[in-house]
């Protein structure tokens, strides 16, 4: 016979696993299968339904694929709930940065604003690298939110990979060829 003091399963009772009390879990579990993992198109649905893109256009499938890659430690091509929570936290940060520059609420920022946003987030890129980013992400001189997020995801993924190899926190890391190629080509 089950111990009566545990209470019944369901919403809000004490003793429930913490993740089920998280509002994000509702959106996640709606699209995730039995394995508790979501693929890129399921992530796209999840982000749309939970309103993560705010008043901006929903995220493209390509962006969602990049997001999964960013947090995909086991190279499974899917994302679990904890990774999803990390992603939402990052997205909220990027959304706040973006909207602080999107003063006319057009859903886009200009080239120089993208540069400022990237610097604000702490990235110290060379003028040449900045130029590449602007050419890659701007459409007639403007960068929409979805593309901004794509850029942030890739910068963050590269940074995370570098940090993992900079064990002495010196700002320097050693790379063997295979590892260097693996890291840079997977982002």
């Amino acid at each position: 016979m089950a111990y009566p003091g545990y209470g019944a399963p369901g919403g809000g009772f004490p003793g429930m696993p913490p993740q089920q009390q998280d509002p994000l879990y509702g959106y996640f579990s709606q699209v995730a299968g039995q394995d508790g993992q979501i693929s890129a198109d399921e992530l796209q649905r999840c982000l749309t339904q939970s309103g993560m893109s705010g008043s901006y256009q929903p995220f493209s499938l390509e962006s969602c694929r990049l997001m999964i890659n960013m947090l995909d430690r086991d190279m499974s091509g899917t994302m679990g709930f904890n990774e999803f929570k990390d992603l939402c936290q990052a997205l909220n940060g990027w959304k706040a940065t973006f909207s602080s520059f999107d003063r006319d609420h057009s859903g886009t920022v200009e080239g120089h604003e993208l540069q400022q946003a990237i610097t604000t987030m702490g990235y110290n890129l060379s003028p040449q690298a900045m130029n590449c980013i602007m050419k890659r992400y701007s459409n007639h001189g403007r960068i929409p939110f979805d593309e901004f997020v794509s850029c942030c995801v890739r910068l963050r993924a590269l940074t995370d990979q570098f940090r993992r190899r900079d064990t002495s926190h010196s700002g320097n890391a050693s790379f063997q060829y295979d590892d260097f190629i693996q890291v840079t080509m997977s982002v």
Partner: protein
């Protein structure tokens, strides 16, 4: 001759007769075996590689070199697309990279197909993404070589250099 073909293609795509082709116009000229147009990233990459004028466009001479470049990759692609599916699998890509002299793992090729594959990679990669992946691989190898002056197979990078190299070659 191939130049004759490039010339014809150039003029069919340069509709406004400006003498230049930009990334969007290039997209009209380049197709995969299922007639889908090349993806935007590959078109942009091609323009960057062959634009000597730094104007974001290629002229006829730039386009001829670009065309030649693509034909060489297309030949390699077709050589390894044994089932003529118009897509290359992770296994087939591994054979391509081995033939090119790389000693990277089969898992790496699977990862590339996943990463560059348009539809989650489960159907392999088409010609456009194949060219994109191979070109970027060559580019990042070049980055590594430039810094591995002692030819040890090992480099020590600072964060800014690492990030800038990755960004300029991959974006």
């Amino acid at each position: 001759t191939f130049f004759h073909n490039a010339y014809q293609w150039f003029h069919s795509v340069d509709a406004d007769r400006s003498g230049f082709i930009n990334s969007k116009e290039l997209k009209q000229a380049l197709v995969n075996s299922n007639w889908s147009n090349f993806n935007d990233e590959t078109c942009l990459m091609m323009i960057n590689m062959f634009d000597k004028t730094r104007s974001g466009r290629v002229d006829l001479f730039g386009f001829s070199a670009l065309w030649d470049y693509i034909q060489q990759w297309r030949a390699l692609f077709q050589q390894h697309d044994r089932d003529r599916s118009g897509s290359i699998s992770g296994t087939e890509l591994h054979q391509v990279l081995t033939q090119m002299g790389y000693k990277l793992s089969p898992q790496f090729s699977e990862m590339l197909v996943q990463r560059f594959g348009g539809r989650g990679g489960s159907h392999g990669i088409q010609l456009d993404r194949f060219i994109q992946a191979c070109t970027q691989l060559q580019s990042m190898t070049q980055v590594f070589r430039e810094r591995d002056t002692g030819m040890t197979g090992n480099v020590r990078l600072n964060y800014e250099d690492f990030l800038a190299s990755a960004v300029t070659r991959l974006m």
